[in-house]
Symmetry: C2
Subunit: 189 residues, 2 copies
């Protein structure tokens, strides 16, 4: 019988596609096996199991997002950098909702420190360099940026902010403006 050519990478990639198409909950060993026309048991020599698969998607998503954000940030500073930073996350979440969902999975400490997660906070700090904020305010500001953007993206995905006539893009721009102003005044307070 012909071999399917399974590898951890290919399995995780398929899991990521599946997550984007059907949601992270649909990412199962069974479903991924089906994509390769292979029995579910065959996956277990390549990956640890369903949890492993989802963690793999999470790590992939963190890497891809960090890459995108880094590229978006190149050569920009100030409000420009802020918008690029935020936009990169928002665009990624829209294009890859399942991967974005996976990126919020809790990782054990060891996996987390080895992940691209650390690059994300470095990138946030890079944005803040344009605002001249010293510690510990810089750490507070990193947390604020993470909170606002993750919160916005997650609420937008859940509800689409569709209960009022006010456009979501308008709220996004308004938020960026206000954050920019907030961070500018941040160097004073």
């Amino acid at each position: 019988m012909a071999r399917a050519g399974l590898t951890p990478q290919r399995l995780v990639a398929a899991a990521a596609e599946l997550a984007d198409e059907a949601g992270l909950a649909q990412v199962t060993a069974s479903a991924v096996a089906r994509r390769f026309d292979v029995k579910a048991a065959s996956l277990y020599s390549h990956i640890g199991g369903t949890d492993d698969l989802r963690t793999g998607v999470a790590l992939l998503a963190l890497r891809e997002m960090a890459d995108r954000v880094a590229e978006a940030l190149a050569g920009r500073s100030g409000r420009d950098a802020l918008a690029a930073f935020a936009g990169a996350y928002r665009d990624y979440a829209r294009e890859h909702p399942g991967r974005y969902e996976a990126a919020r999975l809790p990782l054990d400490h060891e996996t987390a420190v080895a992940s691209a997660g650390v690059r994300h906070s470095q990138l946030a700090r890079a944005v803040l360099r344009g605002y001249d904020i010293a510690e510990p305010d810089q750490t507070h500001a990193v947390r604020l940026l993470g909170s606002v953007f993750h919160g916005y993206i997650s609420l937008e995905a859940a509800t689409g902010f569709s209960h009022t006539p006010v456009d979501s893009d308008a709220s996004w721009q308004w938020t960026l403006d206000r954050l920019d102003a907030l961070l500018r005044s941040g160097s004073i307070g």
Copy 2:
């Protein structure tokens, strides 16, 4: 054989406890049945199934949170109201992580409009009354508040913001201060 006294309410209440203790993923018909020393099949005359159970927890959480926030807000305004509003959510999420998780489940439109979800945005608008912000900025501000607090709570739950020596409570206070300032200037811009 003695009857267990199952009702949709009691089942949802047990599901909520289970969610807080073990996470929303552990909320299954099977697990809830075990709590009542009853076979899983017995649940199906009271609830639709596992999804129903989780949705029930979501609706319960939305109600409980709205009640708490409303109480926290009573008699306060300005930065005081802002802190009470945010604190009520954060405290609830810490006490009831599983319920909080459930509250973010996507609900179909019909269920959503009948839920306590609408009270939440009304409460946010009540906070903003202390800041004198007109439409459409008020809607933008409601979304900002939702984003910041939900984002912060969710990141705090995931990582505990434990990778740096800076205290999470300090970042929370800093964030409240900055938001208060932002909203104050909001009436101008």
